[in-house]
Amino acid sequence: MTRLRELLFPLIAVLCAFAVGALVVLFIGDSPIETYRLLLGSAFSWPDGIGYTLFFATPLIFTGLAVAVALRGGLLNIGAEGQLYIAAFATAWVGITLSNLPSALLIPLCCLAGIAAGAAWAAIPGILKARFGSHEVINTIMLNFIAVALVGYLTQYHYRTAGDPIMESAPISAAAHIPRLGQFVPGLPARIPLNAAFLLALLSCWLVYVLLWKTKWGYEIRATGQNPSAAEYGGVSIRKEIVLTMAISGALAGMVGINEVMGYRYRYYDGFSDNYGFTGIAVALLGRNHPVGVIAAALLFAVLQRGGVPVDAFTQLVSKDIVLILQALVILFVAAEAMFRRGRRGQGAGGRI
């Protein structure tokens, strides 16, 4: 019953968003049905629609998970964007620097470099909070700027191929490439960048689920997020949990680099992130901070992202900005619902005392 309700509320939020979105389309002067047909229909065509939708969903699953884990631990990680940039660069750096290594070594090393870099970058605001009590929201936001500037500098002045007009690093070793799913799935052309990182994303969802709900570590993370005083009473070190939770969150965000660098562009491309870190917050909220919800929410946002292009091209008046409007509306309704629930819960608790 509660499970069902958990599912129902996000669904209502999405439906409400689409309803209001339809009004917007009507107001602009186009047909909502036609617009939504273009928006959603293109995402489900085979192979391009589905292939690209899953490819777009991959980074959102990672960042959505990152934000969800942090929120379960009582922390708001707004810094996934910075963490994934640092991590992607670290992945590329290993792929460029250790180019002599064979695939069997280089691929795990590149992955680990990204995971570790993301974890380390996220651990900074964790340590600052644990040690000095400074708020993680402020520090993760500020570290985003530092991360973007840092990798931009490194790309521009140290790792760019001479004469390359684009802000991108030299290519990584071919041994660090991970396979595209087109190599295994019949009918899926290899030009579609959907790659093994998507499977890693699904695996991560399962791992996060097991971590949070099936292990003592997850118990401590959730206990700290739910009630730090009670967790402390239960013998949990709050400071340790803050750093640990941020590091896990950053590690998950860092895996975006695997998709981007090892499975798609095969180099570090500056400014590659389409606000994945920030969209991850919406994905986590819509997905109720649950791995399964994160997958569903990431798919929805990927569908919207994919569907924006045909809307732009084939409608009279509506531009692809309708995607932004819909995303904003979804977040708005999710937030409104959260407020509604909090209000009700407060009353319920008060009434029972």
Partner: protein, 371 residues
């Protein structure tokens, strides 16, 4: 500033405000919780004067003695419904308790004499400084033996909270000075987890803030504090939660401590205050403890559950456990404890034998006078 006053003084300011505004109807919700017995008497005298001036006073309280002492009419509520309306002169405590619970209630705690054993807890020169630099506890020394209940009486905010938190290992070491020995060994350096491992159970004064994870299930709440070691975990490295074992423990606690409704999957939030408290007490009793630190065991708990909790505490004592009991309810302390320490302003103002002392004498110590 008003925040510099003690809670008791703040209470009086609040009353004064109402009186000064010439209130005709005064509604008081648990007004005596932070007052000493003498203060309660003075306070009741004021209320009686108001009645003589034909004002109306509605007083909401869970203390039967106060109801009988001050009221003319009593309305008894249970589960949000009025279950009875009687004249105070025509009823007594037992009848009121019966109405409140719906069955016969034992108002007196049945307690055989204590058989104190070896010293379990020995506190020497314990002082606690708050974050703001103020002294919360000042050079306190006492012992608790196995098989006895030592009660701590005092107006709230006189160092009881800090004392228990320091003993449970929840205060930073820098705030605590003096020695705390448990079973003969110094435990100052042990954190909350290690102290629980040593056999110290803790029922905190505020169950919502400290004692429970309200959104966690009853089952998950019954392993708080022991969640990291077998039987709560199993397998390689003791990492994976052992769900059958956790469920088993939850069912045990629920059965032994009569937690209702008996569904381990419910969130703790869904329980009434009394059942939440029984869940916490059950969890801590299952440790099983050598020393129990128990603070306000029956605050906000219905009278039927109070009787139950009191019996459990006495039974734990009789099994040889040392119990340090803090309560703002003087009646609770004197009924349960074998010895009573009175705290005033962070110091032990005196130690009394609860069987041989009157509430007035304790009340005098609570305000810094001499018994």
């Amino acid at each position: 500033m008003i925040e510099d006053l003690s809670v008791g003084q703040q209470q009086r300011v609040e009353l004064l405000k109402a009186l000064y505004r010439k209130a005709e109807l005064l509604i008081l919700d648990e007004p005596t919780a932070v007052l000493t017995p003498q203060e309660v008497e003075e306070f009741f005298a004021i209320l009686r004067r108001m009645r003589e001036q034909s004002k109306t006073v509605v007083i909401i309280t869970h203390k039967l003695s106060e109801v009988l002492a001050i009221s003319d009419n009593v309305t008894v509520m249970r589960d949000g419904r009025v279950v009875g309306n009687v004249k105070t002169g025509e009823t007594d405590a037992a009848a009121l308790a019966r109405m409140m619970v719906g069955r016969e209630v034992l108002l007196r705690v049945e307690k055989p004499p204590a058989k104190p054993g070896a010293t379990a807890l020995s506190v020497r020169g314990l002082s606690i400084t708050g974050r703001d630099g103020a002294r919360r506890l000042d050079n306190v020394s006492f012992e608790v033996r196995g098989g006895e209940i030592v009660g701590v009486a005092g107006v709230e905010g006189n160092g009881q909270t800090e004392l228990i938190e320091a003993l449970a290992g929840l205060l930073p070491e820098s705030q605590v000075s003096g020695s705390i020995a448990f079973g003969g060994r110094d435990i100052r350096a042990l954190d909350a987890r290690r102290r629980r491992e040593a056999g110290i159970a803790h029922v905190p004064e505020d169950r919502h803030r400290r004692g429970l994870l309200l959104d966690f299930s009853l089952a998950e709440n019954t392993i708080l504090g022991v969640h990291y070691r077998p039987p709560a975990v199993s397998g390689a490295g003791s990492v994976l939660l052992n769900e059958p074992a956790i469920r088993h423990r939850a069912e045990l606690v629920i059965r032994e401590f009569d937690v209702r409704p008996p569904n381990p999957a419910l969130p703790a939030r869904a329980l009434s205050g009394g059942n939440q408290q029984k869940l916490i007490i059950g969890r801590e009793f299952e440790l099983p403890p050598l020393l129990l630190l128990i603070s306000q065991p029956t605050r906000g708990v219905d009278i039927g559950a109070i009787e139950f909790i009191h019996r459990k505490i006495v039974a734990l004592r009789d099994s040889g456990c040392a119990v340090l009991l803090v309560s703002a309810e003087l009646e609770e302390v004197t009924a349960l404890a074998d010895r009573v320490l009175v705290l005033h302003n962070g110091r032990i103002a005196g130690e009394v034998d609860p069987a041989a002392v009157t509430h007035e004498q304790i009340g005098l110590l609570m305000t810094g006078g001499h018994a």
